[in-house]
Amino acid sequence: MKSRFTFLLSGLVLAAMPPTLAQTSGLRLPKTVEAGSAFSIQSSGTGKAVLYIVGPGQALRRDVRLGETTFFAPGDLHNAGRYVVALVGDASTEDGAFDVIAASPPVALSFLAKPSRLAVNLHEGISGVVYVFDTFQNLVLTPAQVSFQLSGIAGAVQTRTALTRIGVAWTKMNSAAKEGASQFVARVGDAASTRVIQQVPGDACHLRMSARPSGERLAVETEPVRDCSGNALPDGTIVTFTETYKGSESTVDVPLKRGVARTDMPAYSGAKISVATGVLIGNEIRWDK
């Protein structure tokens, strides 16, 4: 209730101020204050007054004796931004403003790594964006060195460095030639954040199948299906077998299991059987008993 009253009062004081704020001669304010650090404000004159400090998400109210220095403890102001100061006395009102800037060095970062899953062998396919923050989650606007590192079970470690601009740094990395999970780490000073990038096989490169009799039916089976880098396509990938015989057709969508797709189809002498996955068409077999 008290803080709400203080906030309302602060708003009224601000509303009564002239649009352009200037540091008055009787109120000595710091030009900038580092977020979370101690600071003081010196006033002049005699008597009692009330000092208001209003900024982004924070408002302070202090009863002061004019002519003395008012001290503020570490942590009293922790949100970066422009703060307006008003000293309301019995006879006059003085006002001014100062900036609270992010504390240095950066101690936290937000790391956006995209995509979390991509095909192998993509040039600059991975992007990383880092936002650096101080202890109080203020965006640190002063340039800071960010190092990015992508390492995994396969491929060489990739390292990049970038300077933050207005609190943001970014980079791009290549995906490895071999599938697997990679650690994508962004580091600023002692602060680090890790994301996992899953590198998965690309499109199938070659698709071959064979057929053999299986009782009354025909067992068709692919060779292990791999992409152009030799990575086995993951289980569950759909392979379509199509058999055409005298104007009729039989199809079956089969998921890869342990790297191969297999199924049974009608055994018609003279039938043609083809295989495909995605947009890749494999070999064709003509079945003759």
Binding site: P115, S116, R117, T251, V252, P255, T277
Partner: protein
């Protein structure tokens, strides 16, 4: 004033007359749908009356009455009769209600008649037609229907091991930090798309590929744009698509705009969307003996064979039709009303417009299945 009064009297008289006619001579299918009792049924003194009575009892789901009216009830039990109509396993038939029925006499003699009965069942995914050729025989002064029982095969109790993949997903939580990754949506791509003028409207057909390594729930939305860039209309593919796409799987899609002419359209904005979902690679459905029967009543016929161990409650078949240049020219679909039991073929027949059928050079069919509360 007099004219108005006269008109009111005429309308009132006509209303009373229609109520009397509808009560005394009700339409058989309406009578069945109204759930009226047996007292409203006609005596089975003619072949048509016997079939109408039977259809009405089926519509009221009065299985006991329907069964007892049959002339060949010694050949099967009432349970088998009910299973023939509603399915032995949960399927579209199980939850269907009879919407209407039609009779067509085919042949008649003094003691025997042949009548075609078309039962139109309504379901949540649309209506399906069950056509039966009925033999009706005379017994004394009454006629009875010889029901052509279709006994659904039963699968003997057994254990069928299935080892296909299943994908489960853990999504980003509400408490995760800003910047934390969520699971990446699957990458899908439209590999073919054609807008065509059809029936005074616009139809957009195409094919969508899941080029990722994870399953996707997909939809396709299209917006027709005029020459000035304004949107004429927006529609999505609704159920003319297989919404669940496993890795590297391709689905056709069809989006219909009934109120826009193709001449008004300058460009089309396509929006495929995908969401990562939990899914299973099981069951695997083989589509056997697909064959396009020619116009005028062109249909794509085939048989679905469930190669897995799980009974499939509802199967949705989508057909993609290509011309001799390999260009997509039509997409059709059909829901199968009977459950797919392991290794048990179930026939399907989907209609193809006659003008399209004559251009078809090849076709491809895929299925989406629904089993006991989960897709695929």
């Amino acid at each position: 004033m007099n004219n108005g009064r006269l008109l009111a009297i005429v309308i009132a008289a006509a209303t009373v007359a229609l109520i009397v006619v509808g009560t005394v001579w009700p339409v058989p299918s309406a009578k069945a749908m109204a759930g009226s009792g047996a007292s409203l049924l006609r005596s089975s003194s003619s072949p048509q009356a016997a079939v109408e009575n039977l259809a009405a009892e089926i519509g009221r789901q009065a299985w006991g009455n329907a069964y007892s009216s049959l002339a060949n009830k010694s050949e099967f039990t009432e349970i088998e009769f009910v299973r023939d109509l509603t399915g032995s396993y949960p399927s579209l038939r199980t939850y269907a209600t009879l919407d209407s029925f039609d009779l067509r006499p085919l042949h008649a003699s003094a003691d025997e008649a042949q009548i075609q009965l078309k039962l139109r069942w309504s379901t949540v995914v649309g209506a399906f037609l069950d056509t039966r050729e009925l033999r009706v025989v005379r017994t004394g002064d009454r006629w009875g229907v010889v029901w052509p029982i279709v006994k659904e095969p039963r699968v003997p109790p057994q254990v069928i091991p299935v080892t296909y993949l299943r994908w489960d997903v853990i999504y980003r939580g509400a408490e995760d930090d800003w910047g934390s990754q969520d699971v990446e949506a699957p990458h899908v791509r439209i590999v073919d798309m054609h807008p065509v003028d059809r029936g005074g409207g616009v139809v957009i057909m195409g094919e969508l590929l899941n080029e990722d390594v994870v399953p996707a729930f997909v939809t396709v939305k299209a917006t027709l744009l005029a020459k000035n860039g304004s949107a004429l209309s927006t529609e999505d593919s609704f159920d003319k698509i297989s919404h669940i796409l496993l890795p590297k799987q391709v689905t056709p899609f069809l989006i219909a705009f009934h109120d826009v002419a193709l001449s008004e359209v300058d460009s089309v904005h396509m929006e495929p969307s995908s969401t990562l979902i939990a899914a299973s690679a099981d069951p695997v459905i083989e589509i056997e003996d697909q064959r396009l029967s020619p116009a005028p009543k062109a249909t794509l016929n085939g048989k679905l064979v469930n190669q897995s161990g799980q009974a499939v409650s509802v199967a949705h078949v989508l057909g993609t039709f290509y011309d001799k240049n390999g260009q997509l020219i039509w997409v059709a679909d059909q829901y199968v009303d009977r459950a797919l039991l392991p290794q048990t073929p179930v026939a399907f027949a989907m209609s193809v417009p006659a003008d399209i059928a004559v251009k078809v050079s090849s076709e491809r069919a895929i299925t989406t299945t629904y089993s006991s509360g989960r897709f695929q």
